[in-house]
Symmetry: C3
Subunit: 184 residues, 3 copies
């Protein structure tokens, strides 16, 4: 796959943002973080959906299967409240769940707030796409991306996606030696 | 919901305690810890049940749905042995599982014993109730409650339960600013 | 059960190793680690199987149910790639999953590489057998066994398996006092 075709889905899950009652802050925070971190050219595909499991599932499936996103990141809907269904929707569309992402995001968030244990964020694989749930709060988004993104490019290699490169001053991605491409 | 109505379920899961062959130490240890920690008036609803999944499930359902407990805490039955079925019963009655509780309880218990990884404790949500599995051993109960309770009052807020307050000298509960009630 | 009968299954999950295109390094690394760690006499039962879920399941079932292994350890097939199905096969044959093993192995591996969060290693119980997934890389195998093995002998006690003893200079197994046998 040519790196010109790199597409990343950004899904804001929020009843209020989807009705326009609330400015979407999570989606733009993810986009800004990725713009700083990635040196590989990429294109954002953004969606804002309400906290309805079927609509979140449909958005995730479309971004993976139709839009060809190698990475799909969500914000919002991961807490214990009745309307929080982002992890359920993510799990329903994934073939594999990667428990290490949720563990690591909670471990990092716990350094800031003890309520980090209430977060049900997961990550998983659907075909050639990696899906990651992030929190709703913009500052927590950056903490979580800082924590897990070093493993993201190699994960996408393993599912046969594009070779993503990062600005090492922002985030240092890790690949085992045999998986590294020679520098241009 | 008026805080006069705060009810907390305490379930001891033990074949021997349920037959009266063994003094229940876990249930009273939980009660004692909560009496020290909570300044909000509350009422304990205690049950002792054998390690039978259907009986544990029935007790959990009754405490949530009939007794109106906003919090239900169990002790015992979370290990790898054939009769240990408390997590299975808890998962069966919950709509959402909060993996961060088990992770955090194991991480804290690991500081004391390497066998903490054998614990299968979970937490989850059923309607307006938070369910938490604790270990059977009284000293480990306090370690686990110390570790996770700071997140419990805000979790109960999020599922529309009563506003619980703690004695900060014992346990400092955390709520984001927007969720804090003005002091009386 | 007499300790003369202690059998431990070692399963290498690898398409290439199963076709003889690649030397199995993971299986021998596990065996070497266990030979150093265990003072109880034991017998290895080794299998090399391709990354096919039904074949991995069949091997695990045979080692537990026919070969009478109290412990079955796998190497390989735990990543996010499409052919990685060892955790799925393990979960399918287990009655109980012990999340603490995967958490602890990832936490330890994270000290070495940020891609540790991509590992989906699990552990679980089938009847009187403990099953543990290890990574494919020999150096990571030792790191993971160092991290979780202190809890393995007591876990096997709890599922009514043989009383395993370790060389404390290599690995210090932990049992609560009431579970310790008097020294010979």
């Amino acid at each position: 796959m040519s790196n010109q075709d790199v597409r990343i889905g950004i899904v804001t899950v929020s009843d209020r943002a989807s009705r326009g009652e609330y400015e979407d802050l999570g989606g733009p925070a993810i986009r800004e973080w990725l713009e700083k971190a990635l040196t590989t050219p990429w294109q954002a595909v953004a969606r804002v959906v309400p906290d309805e499991q079927d609509q979140v599932e449909a958005a995730l499936r479309a971004l993976c299967d139709e839009e060809g996103c190698c990475l799909v990141v969500t914000t919002g809907g991961t807490g214990p409240a009745p309307r929080d269904i982002t992890p359920e929707a993510t799990e329903a569309v994934c073939e594999k769940i990667l428990d290490g992402f949720g563990e690591q995001m909670r471990a990092v968030s716990l350094k800031f707030v003890p309520t980090a244990i209430l977060s049900r964020q997961i990550a998983g694989i659907r075909g050639r796409s990696l899906l990651i749930n992030l929190p709703g709060k913009p500052s927590a988004i950056a903490d979580c991306l800082d924590a897990v993104f070093p493993a993201v490019p190699y994960c996408i290699d393993l599912i046969e996606g594009p070779y993503l490169e990062t600005d090492e001053a922002v985030i240092k991605a890790f690949r085992p030696k045999h998986a590294r491409k020679p520098q241009a």
